[in-house]
Amino acid sequence: MSQHAEWEAVIGLEVHCQLLTKTKIFSGASTTYGAEPNTQADAVTLGLPGVLPVLNAEALNMAVKFGLAVDAQIAPRCVFARKHYFYPDLPKGYQISQYELPIVAHGHLDIEVGEQVKRIGITRAHLEEDAGKSLHENFSGMTGIDLNRAGTPLIEIVSEPDIRSSVEAVAYLKKLHQLVVFLGVCDGNMQEGSFRCDANVSVRRKGTEKFGTRTETKNINSFRYVEKAIEYEIERQIEVIESGGKIVQETRLFNPDTGETRSMRSKENANDYRYFPDPDLLPVVVTEADVARIRGQMPELPEAMRDRFMSQYGLSKYDAVTLTGERALAAYYEAVVKSSGADAKLCANWVSTDLLGALNKLGKDIATSPISADALAGLLKRIADKTISGKIAKDVFEAMCAGEGDADAIIKAKGLVQITDESAIVKAIEDVMAKNPDNVAAYRGGKDKLFGFFVGQVMKATGGKANPDALNRLLKEKLAG
């Protein structure tokens, strides 16, 4: 879009975030993903005649937690409304949602794009129930309906139209994703649809205040697709306008195969949702005491944790950001520091470089890591107490990844204990010097660079086990003659 310097995009995102409750928002049916079709569709989910909804306390708790995390106002009184439309994955003919009085309003999230911090407003976040799924495989030419997902609690998080590019959009989404996962209110699984995004996009000429006509692109299920869909939509809209056309306010669908969006020309273009307060549910009251109680349950949020890591452990911002990317990773890191007693920066390097690298290779995550925090700490302890060198530690780490046991066992089995006995090191130095008289002479003649050669030779002779500090000191003494 960069070639359209006179144009500016205006983007607002709506994120549907499934809450990590055990049961549905209005009934005691399980929300576990992947069950056999309709086995989690209880009487309330099916909308059987005569059934009634009762609100899940934990869904409300989680929505409030989210609101507090984005510095929003928690409505002291919020109301559920019915949103009407006919669709087979919507069993009652209406979705229970919130309309005029949502639980969360007027929050914000700060994103970083390059070096700049930008504040994105969060208009509102409301509680609602998810719909079921339509399966379009051929069931005798028909569509199959699975209502297991119907009734799963969602918060729909609506941003202000503060976003100006696909890059900002992705930064906002990633930040939001990190936050809801950190809070423990969402598992963040985008493939399974736990975190879904609709993008409202319009364009206007720079300097104009009025928004252009917007389109809404639905259900984009990865960060990359969000970026592509928005970029495509910006390009498309500019082209339409520049060639004298007009943007139609409509819902569009992103096709990940082509990277394009297309219009969903459903008949129900002029939707009339006929919202009204759900008479089966009463106004939800959240008292100041409730808010205080929930505030007390809040985990440390990513930004606060990042700042603490920088001050408490003396980490760089880069390392602190990496290590606070996930709550589990941060907890892992802190456990390593605590249990190894090693230098916090050394621990940070090992966790963010060696461990994450290995997990990446193995296709695992922190929760399924073959090396526990205690095990890694066991290794770092041996570096700290100089039993092994940092270099040898890498080999031990690889062996640990391969499941060969804990650090001490591997060090022992492979005889990797560092040589700290100075007489042994001196002997090795003297052997190397005796074998390389020319180089000794050259060094003494001023060729300082040869120092590295001697280090390498001695290390080779000791199988890498010579204590590097002792080696350096003793080698310098010997070479000096």
């Binding site: 005649p49 005569g50 009634l52 009762v54 087979p88 009652k92 003919g93 209406y94 006929r274 008479p279």
Partner: protein
């Protein structure tokens, strides 16, 4: 001794415990009456003889063990709006003609647990929308007092059955008068408790903020004992009230000397038929004789109750009935072209004309551009009507007036004029809008047709209403009259 269908619930209960008859015998007696008499009335949609037999046997065993409660072994009829597991629950609609409920309504559970024996499911107006029981897909119900007349609605089957002695008591529901108006038209005592007093779980919703279940019986005493068993908090209903249930039976015999009765002047204005007025005025005299203090009051917004109701109730109904789409249960049209066709044909065929009218009115008043003028306006007027009652109950203990404008009308006489039909409920609707308890009890006859008297009480004042009604029934015998041909 009187035949079982002429006995009160207390007499039946005493008879069961005194081994004068068994629940099986009672059940057989009523099933036989249903068999021979109901073809004239059409008061039942489904007769559940086998289930009744099983329940009666269980009740007899319970009685033999000495574990019987006051309702153990007593037969009843459930309005076909309550879900009954394993039994068709039709709501008198083609839409649910083949719907076998997979669960029990809370009140069904409660009455089963009390040991009552369900004889069958009562006819009603389709989805409880109507005041004459003429909108049922299973055909109209006839009034046992005059078979050419309506029994009232929507609980027409419940009242016809009890008035004709096909069961000692029946459940009913009341959204705008559907318990009280039919009770009035068939010489029964019917009570709609405070909104939230009886669980709505398993009661097929018409208008959620107005619907309330209750009882129709042959006396206030009978109604009290059954309502007692139905009432109470239900965690499955968010609008159920978490508050202990008053003892409705013990206080029945308290004298009502000094009771302050308010007569809303708007309920005695034009529109009340002279015969019905005379009966109600005679009842007022009787209350004065019993020591009550009569006072004229005003409910100034009551003329607005019908228009308010015909916004609120259809709006909620249009939404509540959206679930009937032919996808998961209920009627599904044959030979449809596509999804939209499936919806439109299934709903077009499955719902009768009155239901369709109300769905369309409700859809219209909620739609874009009309919501404020209709729906919000009606919600505000609803508050005014509520405020009227709040003021009234600061001055008086109960409010008394007619239940209906006149005696039962002829079948078919109002079916082409919805507005005329709606105005039948002019005296009953306000209690639903405010959510207060209200009841109807017999107070005389005009040309052999019963007239009902309405009592309205403050929130959760069911015990007082039943006490007042019982005291009146101790001093009168209108409620003991039964229709010829059903003696």
């Amino acid at each position: 001794m009187n035949a079982p269908h002429q006995l009160s619930i207390r007499e039946l209960s005493d008879g069961l415990r005194g081994k004068k008859f068994s629940s099986r015998e009672l059940t057989q007696h009523f099933l036989k009456r249903i068999d021979t008499l109901d073809p004239q009335l059409n008061s039942l949609i489904t007769v559940t003889a086998a289930r009744a037999q099983r329940q009666a046997e269980a009740a007899d065993a319970r009685i033999a063990r000495g574990e019987a409660g006051p309702l153990t072994g007593i037969p009843l009829i459930q309005k076909d709006i309550f879900c009954t597991q394993g039994v068709r629950t039709s709501c008198a609609s083609q839409m649910l003609d083949r719907f076998i409920a997979p669960y029990d309504a809370t009140i069904v559970e409660k009455l089963d647990a009390a040991g009552m024996v369900m004889l069958g499911k009562a006819n009603m107006d389709e989805f409880a929308m109507g005041s004459s029981n003429e909108t049922s897909w299973y055909g109209p119900v006839c009034n046992p007092w005059d078979l050419s007349r309506v029994p009232g609605g929507s609980s027409g089957g419940s009242v016809a059955a009890v008035a004709a002695g096909l069961a000692p008591v029946a459940t009913a529901t009341d959204t705008g008068g559907s318990i009280r108006q039919p009770a009035a038209l068939t010489n029964l005592t019917g009570i709609k408790p405070t909104y939230g007093r009886v669980s709505r779980y398993g009661m097929i919703a018409f208008a959620s903020s107005l619907d309330q279940a209750g009882v129709v019986a042959r006396s206030a005493e009978d109604a009290a004992v059954v309502l007692q068993a139905m009432s109470g908090f239900d965690p499955r209903d968010s609008t159920s009230v978490e508050r202990p249930v008053d003892d409705l039976v013990t206080g029945l015999n308290q004298p009502i000397k000094g009771l302050r009765i308010g007569l809303p002047k708007e309920y005695f204005a034009e529109g009340l038929a002279p015969g019905a007025r005379a009966c109600v005025e005679a009842a007022i005299k009787k209350f004065e004789e019993l020591g009550a203090v009569i006072k004229e009051i005003s409910l100034p917004n009551s003329p607005l109750s019908v228009p308010t109701y015909y916004v609120v109730a259809p709006a909620e109904a249009s939404s509540n009935l959206a679930r009937f789409d032919g996808v998961r249960y209920g009627h599904r049209a044959e030979g449809v072209k596509n999804l939209e066709d499936l919806y439109k044909k299934s709903r077009g065929e499955g719902f009768g004309a009155e239901v369709q009218r109300r769905i369309m009115i409700g859809t219209y008043v909620l739609s874009h551009g009309y919501y404020d003028a209709y729906y919000l306006k009606a919600q505000k007027v609803r508050r005014l009507i509520y405020d009227d009652f709040k003021r009234a109950f600061a001055e008086v203990d109960v409010v008394l007036g007619p239940t209906a404008t006149d005696v039962a009308f002829k079948l078919g006489s109002k079916t082409d004029d919805p507005v005329a039909m709606y105005l039948n409920d002019i005296y009953t609707i306000a209690a639903n809008l405010a959510g207060i308890p209200a009841m109807s009890l017999p107070c005389g006859f005009v040309d052999g047709l019963p007239v009902g008297l309405q009592l309205m009480g403050n929130y959760f004042d069911e015990a007082r209403l039943l006490n007042v009604a019982h005291q009146y029934q101790q001093a009168t015998n209108w409620h003991q009259q039964s229709p010829k041909g059903f003696a």
